[in-house]
């Protein structure tokens, strides 16, 4: 028999693997419907211009083409996509679901072709001719700030979507009294999350029932259902979002995009199921970009290296519109730049400006990766100026558990519950020491800055926090089926992270049952009346605790029903291992009472963030002839409160670290002066390959359970990526110390590193 807590904390192999390994996963392009039409989106090839007309005559004449929808097919005002974090200033910048009079980025949808096959739809889309009068494109920060031209003339007076401040204490006073002030300019490049499966949707409209079903949900189906219902002028209960297997999310996938509305509209107009699967080229122009940030920031310190204050300003290019999650990286960068450190005085300003580029959203560790890069560079610069060891300057500033809860900077204008937030628990030096010990800093330090076999070696250390457990709630319902199987319905979504396994572990342990009895259903609005989803490293904490509470409710109900059946008092019934045992030894199984409605429901409410903390150390070798940087060793240690599944946790941390290397070295979405995106394939967007980063080690600690939730877990899906920029850039700086280079601008492509070593005269 299983005893409680058999699964949580173990290296539990994943239940979803069996179907994925056999090729039996069911992704959106695997879902078909009788009589469905295929959609292809016609996109603007001009970054900024007046949309004069759309000539679809030739396309419509093709056999097998059913319709070409444009803005003219939308009744009334063109709906705009709602914000996840509304704030007073961003309203005018919301994205319309299709361009009517003006296009604002390369790739903006202008029409939708519907045909009998995807090939025909693509062929016909080539024949749709939008006439667009080009306007000057706003590509750079300078052009955007000069408001020449405005992207939204007549509606807004500038190209600034929002200005956030992150504040705490009295930064001016702190800087006035500092022994040292270090400051510089930094930047991170525009990139995207790039899930391997492109996006896709299949919409079905039931005219009799006036009901819309959208397949292809990910991340946050319930928010999208609300948005869709409002745009379609339907009651929420008349819209369902259905989740199938999802080929990666990383923040970008699953938000409400223009195609959500367009594909649904097409189904409603034609009365036939309509499917759209994004191709890779349009993916690059259509899915949210992220990370295009510039900063001018300063750190004030005393002579012993204690941080007194942090101030400065950041500018984020959020693209042509503010998408649902477009402000998250902006405000996060400001609020979390102080990271795991004790920073008593903060005055940061983050400005989001619009430009004629693909609208931005989130990518794993949004804003946190950027902010970590900025402050970690500043810390190494300060250590050099003060003559301190780079470990010491971090050690004296890392937060201690005695200081918890430790308040971070406040965000203004307030954008919800996290405008004020505090680190929850942890002795941050613990992961720091464990990381450096595993890394063998003392030994590797002997190589630091040395030229060995033609390459300069460098090491660095970088510390981080990762916010998790996005509020406000998550829901779960558990019921016992007639065969004794336990059906668990949870509002969380699976995006490839192993949700089914983690939820089954928690349900099985709480119920005292083997995992094999548990069946997990997730992510679709058909399962629960309300739910939230998977974003902001929330599923394990929010969904996991909801499942736990629902399981406890079910056990209470089981005890009550068993007592009634046995004719004894509830206190006389013991419940263990899925069985209720009466005082005389009579035994009832869960299945025996299934017919009496054996179920439990829960809504886990929590608006307090969890903060995983960690440290990464890296050893690089830099080839001065080519500028190529090789990662010789990378160790990351994080403290996650409570490990639910060590296997999937390490998978998240390792995978995120390697994604971070992609961010630091290769991935970039460049634009030309006219606002044309210069990347369209995986041959020119350089994600990490198997030969690139073979040495990543990770270890995890669970020393300080989060006080915010009964499981004690802290969200941990994103932390792996956060410290990578700062760690690698500092290691490159350390390797090349003889040259006094400042790698302050990412990516550190071979060309850029070479240019650092060979500055123009």
């Amino acid at each position: 028999m299983n005893t409680p807590n058999t699964y949580i904390g173990g290296h539990v192999e994943r239940v979803e693997d069996a179907r994925f390994l056999r090729g039996a996963g069911r992704y959106i392009d695997d879902v078909t419907r009788e009589g469905m039409l295929h959609a292809c989106v016609v996109r603007s090839a001009v970054a900024h211009g007046r949309l004069v007309s759309i000539d679809a005559e030739e396309a419509l004449a093709m056999p097998g083409v059913h319709a070409v929808l444009t803005a003219a097919d939308v009744t009334g005002e063109i709906p705009t996509i709602p914000f996840r974090r509304p704030n007073p200033k961003i309203g005018p910048y919301a994205q319309p679901v299709i361009a009517r009079e003006r296009v604002r980025y390369f790739g903006e949808p202008v029409a939708l072709v519907l045909a009998d096959s995807p090939e025909l739809a693509e062929d016909a889309a080539e024949l749709v001719l939008p006439e667009i009068e080009p306007l000057p494109a706003v590509v750079t920060r300078d052009a955007a700030l000069a408001a020449e031209p405005l992207l939204f003339p007549g509606t807004t007076e500038d190209n600034l979507a929002a200005v956030f401040t992150a504040g705490k204490g009295d930064a001016e006073a702190a800087f006035a009294g500092a022994a040292l002030v270090v400051g510089d300019s930094f930047s991170t490049q525009r990139q995207t999350a790039l899930p391997l499966e492109t996006r896709g949707l299949l919409a079905e409209w039931d005219a009799d029932a006036q009901h819309l079903t959208v397949h292809g949900a990910a991340k946050l189906p319930f928010f999208n259902r609300r948005a869709m219902a409002k745009m379609m002028d339907l009651p929420e209960t008349s819209v369902d979002y259905v989740e199938h297997d999802v080929g990666g999310g990383f923040g970008a996938r699953g938000e409400f995009y223009p195609e959500d509305f367009l594909v649904a509209l097409a189904a409603r107009i034609t009365g036939r199921p309509v499917k759209w699967v994004e191709d890779r080229r349009e993916h690059f122009a259509a899915i949210a970009h992220s990370r295009e940030a510039e900063a001018q920031v300063e750190l004030a310190l005393d002579a012993s290296g204690r941080i007194l204050g942090l101030r400065g300003e950041m500018f984020m290019n959020v693209g042509a519109y503010v998408r649902p999650n477009g402000m998250t990286p902006v405000r996060n960068c400001a609020q979390f730049m102080s990271g795991p450190y004790r920073v008593p005085n903060i005055a940061l300003q983050a400005t989001a400006y619009v430009a004629n580029k693909t609208p931005a959203g989130t990518f794993r560790g949004p804003g946190r990766y950027e902010g970590s890069f900025f402050i970690e560079r500043l810390l190494d610069m300060a250590a050099a100026r003060l003559g301190l060891d780079r470990r010491t300057i971090r050690q004296v500033n890392l937060l201690t558990n005695a200081e918890m809860p430790y308040p971070l900077a406040q965000i203004r204008p307030s954008d919800g519950s996290r405008a004020e937030t505090s680190c929850d628990s942890g002795e941050y030096s613990e992961a720091f020491h464990r990381c450096l010990q595993a890394f063998d800093w003392e030994e590797k330090e002997k190589l630091d800055g040395r030229l060995i076999d033609g390459r300069y070696h460098g090491i660095a250390v970088s510390c981080f926090i990762e916010g998790g457990a996005s509020g406000p709630a998550e829901t779960a319902r558990i019921q016992v089926a007639g065969d004794g199987g336990v059906e668990v319905y949870v509002g969380s979504s699976a995006i490839g992270q192993g949700l089914e396994t983690v939820m089954a572990q928690i349900a099985a342990d709480t119920l005292g049952l083997p995992m094999e009895c548990i069946r997990i259903y997730h992510g679709s609005t058909t399962y629960l009346a309300e739910g939230w989803g998977s974003y902001g490293s929330r599923a394990t904490v929010m969904g996991g605790n909801a499942v736990r509470e629902a399981a406890l409710a079910l056990l209470a109900r089981f005890r009550a029903l068993a007592a009634r059946r046995l004719g004894v008092g509830e206190a006389e019934v013991s419940v263990v291992g899925g069985q209720a045992v009466g005082p005389d030894g009579a035994v009832l199984d869960l299945a025996d009472l299934a017919a009496e409605g054996l179920a439990g429901e829960a809504k886990f409410l929590n608006s307090d963030a969890t903060y995983t903390n960690g440290t990464a150390a890296v050893h690089v070798a830099v080839d001065p002839e080519t500028g190529r940087v090789e990662v010789l060793d990378y160790v990351v240690c994080d403290e996650v409160g409570r490990i639910v599944n060590a296997l999937t946790l390490h998978g998240q941390v390792t995978g995120a670290a390697v994604q971070g290397f992609g961010s630091v070295f290769g991935e970039e979405l460049p634009y030309d002066d006219d606002g044309a995106l210069l990347v369209g394939t995986l041959a020119d967007y350089l994600v990490p390959l198997a030969t690139d980063y073979p040495r990543v080690r990770c270890l995890s600690l669970e020393s300080y359970p989060s006080p915010t939730n009964p499981l004690g877990a802290k969200g941990a899906g994103e932390g792996g990526i956060i410290p990578v920029g700062g760690a690698v850039a500092n290691a490159v700086a350390s390797a090349l110390r003889a040259f006094g280079v400042a790698p302050n601008h990412l990516p550190l492509s071979p060309a850029r590193v070479w240019a650092l070593l060979n500055p123009p005269d």
């Binding site: 693997d17 069996a18 994925f20 090729g23 996963g25 899930p195 999802v246 080929g247 992270q497």
Partner: protein
């Protein structure tokens, strides 16, 4: 155009348009949706299938080119039986997360290990560099492949 091929041991006769790729043919005409498409120009390797023993890109091969060939897809590795040692090793090492690239990686590695069961880590990485995995960072995939070598060394085709 009419073609006849063997897919996962079963004969299939089909009438396909000349421009139909092998990947689309497998997915749509034969319902073998385990083969995935993620770039459609031969970079990501998600659509890799085994044609007459060699790992090939399903998106760069026309269906008509496979006329008369023997094709193995991810569905054919274990068939209806137990997972193969390679698949088991993937599970043990957590060598997959979202599962989208997995089919192409399994077929790539199956072809490699069948040809050379003594292959070393650096060559596994070299071959694997033709497949993009966005989730795992590749490290557990290489570990799984190394572990599965023993089963391929024992001879025969561990996938059948």
């Amino acid at each position: 155009m009419k073609i006849a091929l063997t897919v996962n041991g079963r004969p299939a006769a089909l009438d396909v348009a000349p421009r139909t790729t092998l990947a689309d043919c497998l997915r749509h005409a034969l319902g073998l949706t385990g083969t995935h498409l993620a770039c459609e120009h031969g970079v990501c390797g998600a659509c890799t299938v085994i044609v007459d023993g060699a790992a090939v890109r399903g998106c760069l091969t026309l269906a008509v080119q496979a006329d008369g060939a023997e094709v193995t897809t991810v569905e054919g590795l274990a068939g209806d039986g137990a997972l193969t040692p390679l698949q088991e090793a993937f599970r043990r090492h957590h060598a997959l997360q979202c599962g989208f690239c997995t089919a192409g990686i399994l077929t790539t590695l199956h072809a490699l290990l069948t040809e050379n069961p003594d292959v070393e880590a650096c060559e596994i990485r070299e071959v694997l560099s033709g497949n993009i995995c966005r989730c795992t960072g590749y490290i557990p995939i290489v570990e799984a492949a190394l572990e599965a070598r023993a089963a391929y060394r024992r001879g025969g085709d561990p996938a059948q």
